[in-house]
Each structure stands twice: as C-alpha cells, then as structure tokens.
C-alpha cells in the first residue's frame, strides 16, 4: 500500500510542490508567458500543504482496500499520461502549439490599450517591439507586440455582428453565418498569401512570421465591427463616417508597425534613404496598408443598407 501510494499520488504531490516553488520566484520576470496558477497555495504554504494533504490522501486510500484496484488505477493513470505525452509530441509537429501560446499571452490591460491603438494610433510614439535576449517579449508586457487573441475574437464577433445586421433587415438565414465565416476566412488566407508572395519577391530580410501576418491582417476586423455597429445604430451616414475613421486609423497603424519590420534601419528612423531597394519596400508597405481599407469596405458594404 505504501509503495503504491508513493508511486501514485504522493510522487505527483511532491513534484507539484517542487514546481510551485520555482515559478513563484520568477513570475515577475518578463520571460514567463503565463502565471502558474495551477496550484492554489503560495510559496509559504508549500511545505505545510504538502504535509497536510499527506495524511488525508492516506486515509482516503484506505477506503479502497483492494490492492488490485489500486494497481489498476495507477496503471491507468500512467497509461493516460503516456498517451497525452505522445499526442502532445505529435501535435507539436503539425501545429506549433508552443509558438501559438506566445500570441495568446495577453491580459485585459494589453487588450484595452491595443484596441485603443487600433482606433486612435495618432498619439503613440514608440512603435518598436521590445526584445528580451533575442526573443520578442510576450504581448502582455509590450503593447507593440502582435497577438492572435484580438484577431480571433474580432473575427468571431464580426460573424455575429454580420448575422445581427442581416437579422434586422429580415435577410437572415442560419446557413448565412457559415457562408460569411468561410468567405471572410478565405479572404484572410488570400491576403496573407499575397503578402507572403510579395515579401518573397522583394527579398525582404525580416523576422515577420506567417502568424505575425495573420495577426496583422486580423486587426482590421475591429474596424469593421465598429463600422457595422455604427451603421446599425445611425444608418448609412454613421456607417460611412465610422468606416472612414477606422480605415484611416488602420492605415496609419499598419504603416507605422510594418515600417519598422520591413524597411531598413535607417529608413525606419525617418531619414530619407534613397535607393531602389528602400523605395520598393516603402511601396510594399503602403500597398499592404492600403489593402486593409479596401478589404474592410468589401467585406461590410453588403451588410448595411
């Protein structure tokens, strides 16, 4: 009984105590993406809670006095953990889950600031992304870092708002939601592919990953939602005014963000650097930024009558 206890529950508790002590000390460092809230006790209570839970688990174990069921439970849990390990390893090969986690490490303050930046980017001065020993800092510590939370949420909200808009005009049907979702997704994929192709043709040496591009292309859904909601509340004039404002702010936002990534260092700091290469890159940045208002209008004008 002791032996099975130690390999089953006790060992896991010991491991969780050890894990608790380390993250508690460096949770204030910007290197960690997420706070470890999986254990409830703080570093002070680590020793005590481990000792407290020991006898409780012990008495709980004596209820199942059948050693065969204990053995089966221990074997089953080890099998489950093995299966989970294998699945994690295989999934990581297709979808880079660890890289995706970086883009979802956000908090409310970051989301609020980023939404404000998307609608009013004119007062923000420092657009550079902070780095920490070669890796970019998680979005929750740097408002300039791209994230995937806002684009994902904005996409889903856009679908729902589109359904709402059509519902108020009595043009709604359930399969419309699916059609709208796949249309918007297809346009997003086309846009990301076009940007990737143009980045390849202009031979830009940038650290923009595909997921970064998806994030930047997804930021325009925020403006689209604002426009459609204004159109619902205030009619066509409200829609056009709100859309104009959001188009201008997305344009400025994209240019200021992409300038630092695509152009060379000198040109990005404001000095006019002559040369065909920099000119081409400037045109590319402006083209990407100009495509955003076009898509914003194209995907929303049929929703507001």
């Amino acid at each position: 009984m002791d032996y099975i206890n130690q390999t089953g529950f006790r060992q896991r508790k010991l491991q969780s105590n050890v894990r608790m002590r380390n993250p508690a000390m460096d949770s204030s460092e910007p290197g960690q993406l997420f706070d470890d809230t999986s254990t409830s006790a703080g570093p002070q209570g680590a020793g005590h809670s481990g000792l407290d839970k020991g006898p409780v688990a012990y008495t709980g174990q004596t209820v199942l006095s059948d050693p065969m069921s204990n053995l089966a439970m221990a074997y089953g849990s080890s099998l489950a953990s093995q299966g989970k390990e294998m699945m994690d390893k295989n999934l990581d090969r297709f979808i880079p889950v660890s890289k995706l986690k970086y883009y979802f490490a956000v908090d409310t303050l970051y989301v609020g600031k980023k939404l404000g930046l998307l609608v009013f980017p004119y007062m923000h001065e420092n657009w550079e992304v902070c780095y920490q020993q070669d890796t970019p800092v998680a979005p929750r510590f740097d408002v300039n870092a791209p994230d995937l939370y806002i684009p994902a949420m904005a996409f889903i909200t856009y679908i729902l708002v589109a359904g709402l808009a059509l519902g108020t005009q009595n043009r709604f049907s359930p399969e419309f939601l699916g059609m709208q979702a796949s249309s918007a997704l297809v346009w997003l994929i086309i846009e990301v592919l076009a940007v990737l192709l143009s980045l390849y043709l202009v031979t830009v040496n940038t650290d923009l990953t595909t997921i970064d591009l998806v994030a930047f292309s997804g930021y325009k859904y925020v403006g689209m939602i604002v426009g459609v909601l204004a159109g619902l509340l205030f009619g066509k004039t409200g829609y056009y005014l709100a859309l104009l404002w959001c188009c201008a702010s997305i344009f400025v936002f994209m240019i200021r963000t992409l300038r630092l990534k695509i152009l060379s260092e000198a040109a990005a700091e404001g000095m006019i650097v002559r040369g065909a290469k920099n000119q081409l890159r400037m045109y590319l940045t402006m083209a990407i930024a100009a495509a955003q208002p076009v898509f914003m209008y194209w995907l929303t004008f049929h929703l507001v009558r």
Binding site: L185, V186, Y200, K277, H302
Partner: protein
C-alpha cells in the same frame, strides 16, 4: 462573394497547374524568362525578375508529383459527385 474553402482549394490547384504547365524550353526561353536569364547577377540583390523565375522553376520541380495526385483526386471527385 460566397466563397467556400473548397473554392479556395480549387483556385489554388488551378493556379499551381497554370504555373507548372509553363514549359522551360518551348515557352519561357522564347520570351526571355528562361532559367539561365534568372541566375544572371550573383550580387546580394537578386531582383524581382530573378525571384519570379526562381519561383516558377521551383514550383515546377517541387509540385510536379503532388499535382499529379491532387489532379487525379479532383477528377475522381468530379466524376463521382458531379
């Protein structure tokens, strides 16, 4: 406007087919887009035309076999399901 994901896949297959069909010596060399014109400058800046030619050539070599498979699957699906 009503795009499905299947339409996107069809578009992608058609585009890739179009690029893979451009023959090297019968067509591309005649219009000055052959492989030897692309490798011209070995400077650090390949230029857009060289990149395009490189892209066409690599699509042709890499996607030849997968395109055969994907096209056969599409033909089969069309025959079976219209």
């Amino acid at each position: 406007m009503a795009f499905t994901l299947y339409a996107l896949i069809q578009t992608a297959v058609l585009f890739t087919n179009a690029i893979a069909v451009l023959h090297e010596e019968r067509f591309l060399s005649k219009i000055g887009w052959g492989a030897e014109q692309g490798i011209g400058g070995f400077g650090d800046d390949p230029g857009i035309k060289a990149q395009l030619l490189n892209l066409i050539r690599s699509v042709r070599t890499v996607m030849r076999v997968p395109l055969i498979i994907v096209n056969s699957v599409c033909i089969l699906l069309l025959l079976l399901f219209g």
